[in-house]
Symmetry: C2
Subunit: 380 residues, 2 copies
Amino acid sequence: MKDRPTEKDFIRVFSRVFQLKNKPLLFGSEFDDCAVLKLASLSQNLLAESLTFSTDTVRESTDFPKGMTLWQKGWMSAAVNLSDLAAMGSKPVAFLFSAGLPRSFTLEDAEEFARGIQECVSFFGAEVIGGDTEYNEELSITGTVIGILENKNVIYRKNAKPGDFLCVTGHTGSAGVALSVLLNRIPESASDAFLKNLTEPFPRIYEGMMLAKSGAVNSMIDTSDGLASSVYELSALSGVFFEIDEQKLPLEPEALEIVSTRLKRKTEMNELNEDQTAQEARLILIHESLYTGGDYELLFTIPPEKLSVIEEVFRKINENAAAQLKTYSSAGKSGRYPCKFTVIGKAIAEKENVNIRQTTYEEQRLPLLKRGYNSFTKDI
Amino acid sequence: MKDRPTEKDFIRVFSRVFQLKNKPLLFGSEFDDCAVLKLASLSQNLLAESLTFSTDTVRESTDFPKGMTLWQKGWMSAAVNLSDLAAMGSKPVAFLFSAGLPRSFTLEDAEEFARGIQECVSFFGAEVIGGDTEYNEELSITGTVIGILENKNVIYRKNAKPGDFLCVTGHTGSAGVALSVLLNRIPESASDAFLKNLTEPFPRIYEGMMLAKSGAVNSMIDTSDGLASSVYELSALSGVFFEIDEQKLPLEPEALEIVSTRLKRKTEMNELNEDQTAQEARLILIHESLYTGGDYELLFTIPPEKLSVIEEVFRKINENAAAQLKTYSSAGKSGRYPCKFTVIGKAIAEKENVNIRQTTYEEQRLPLLKRGYNSFTKDI
């Protein structure tokens, strides 16, 4: 049987038809998170400030794990779109959506769902400016987010340079662990706050804006489709390769604890001692980090000499986080700050592969699998 | 059994949650076709030029009658969004979409569908700047269109004044007749060009821009949900009422012919003579005009003293139509120009109803039914 076309296959067709490349006025979103509209192109009277646009759909069957509240589904619908702006260092301005509501939806349901959207959009400084609804077999929502770029340096995916440090914000793998907790229906093993890593994605808007402002970042992308997938995107578009050190991945302590607890419960693992369990848990969490989507952190590259600039950027981010978090905490949220960044690898020119350096059992370099979340290859 | 909430019920909830009203910077799209973003609000360095945004979803089961080609489905997906810009007198700049493709879709299918989008968007002077796709149970596409307003006079739905003439562009009822032809599977009774009234909606972008530029229009909306529904929108938001003269509705000769032919075929109508058949056909077509969606004409109100200004506007529109139509004709299209406008009624203050003046059998004024296309009340 012939393989089904992948999302990328379709996008390639679309890109050709829409001739997204090399448009003088508009930067297409074929290879970046957002389309960019240069205001200067609209009128000679405008300054060279840009607008950014991005559109994304989330649906009950493929994007909302069982157990999510309607408020969370609303929050997530906005957050996944905002994260695309974050990856361009853009400031959100406005959000529009078109929602398909299941026939069982009540007006109270609509209100809770809308409040989730509203709280996410307004927390990140934007406004909902329009919407459209109709009935659908399942809850689905397409959001479009509009942002502005306050400076001229647009951060694309394509400008990673050999020698760049590869960095990631926050923790990796937590959303993947939270998903496996929800799918296995053992939520009691994780705290509410931890599950929100998956159910209330936190777009790194503020971090993206501060990184863009620093002028120190060569390339950036979010990790929503999984770290491996995002690294391959940077690699393909920048023409560089990467070497990742698995020991550097910023794993969250509670994630390790949840995985360890689950390992201990399994009969066949009972003979593992404490250290071995911890080691196995790390390996599982590294796997979640690389190949499961949902983390919505920023993955970016910087020239090594800019490391101290970025350290200063994150010092400022965390200094200001208290004010940032005021609204968000009232929405029952926590655990996103302080936000660190971690150098997890580097860009290289000489190899024709993206490698991962494994050291858990014996040191070896293996090709990173080109895998990640792709709703196209997942059977519903 | 309790009635299902209508689209308007849901929108009311959303509007409350998103507090769309009275925002200083943004004009929400609660009551208008587009959200408007005042660029002046983004930066003091920008002129008071506005961007407009609108988003809309179309789906196989509710929006694409059987028999439509994939190219037409693509064209329609863009056209329904562009029509919202037309109703604000806005010039299209950019189009983004998020498409759900059925699993049976081939890359050739995607290409044909994309070409339909591309030809529509580029015909009306805009560019596709981004897209997102995934698999879905049925073909569905949410488009977001971005436009600019070249002058400061935004035409809303809310400014119709008592005494205003109510005008409509083009013909009314043709899409409804085309739909009934397709549903009854007797396409041989209609020309290909006629069926395009339904399957290749032609947003009145150029007409909307020229009307906005004239400064003579008080209120405007498109007729995509049916004339009656659009008149009620203008009425509710402007606080005026309307009287429509059914004899003035601009019916298309081929539409009358199709309906007459169908009437003659029906056994029970055989006793009608030629005149009676024509009269019955007119009544059916008037009904289609008022209560069936899909026409995508512009419905607008003007102060009576501006009639000659509008006549001059349409003289110019048709003078320039040859150039406008060059591209479009090559896409196999026709019948949209010359574009006339027709005064079909007037806005009144004194009555508490929207009336239709009927004169076919005996003269009478009846309340216009508050009915139209609403995907919420239609069972799939």
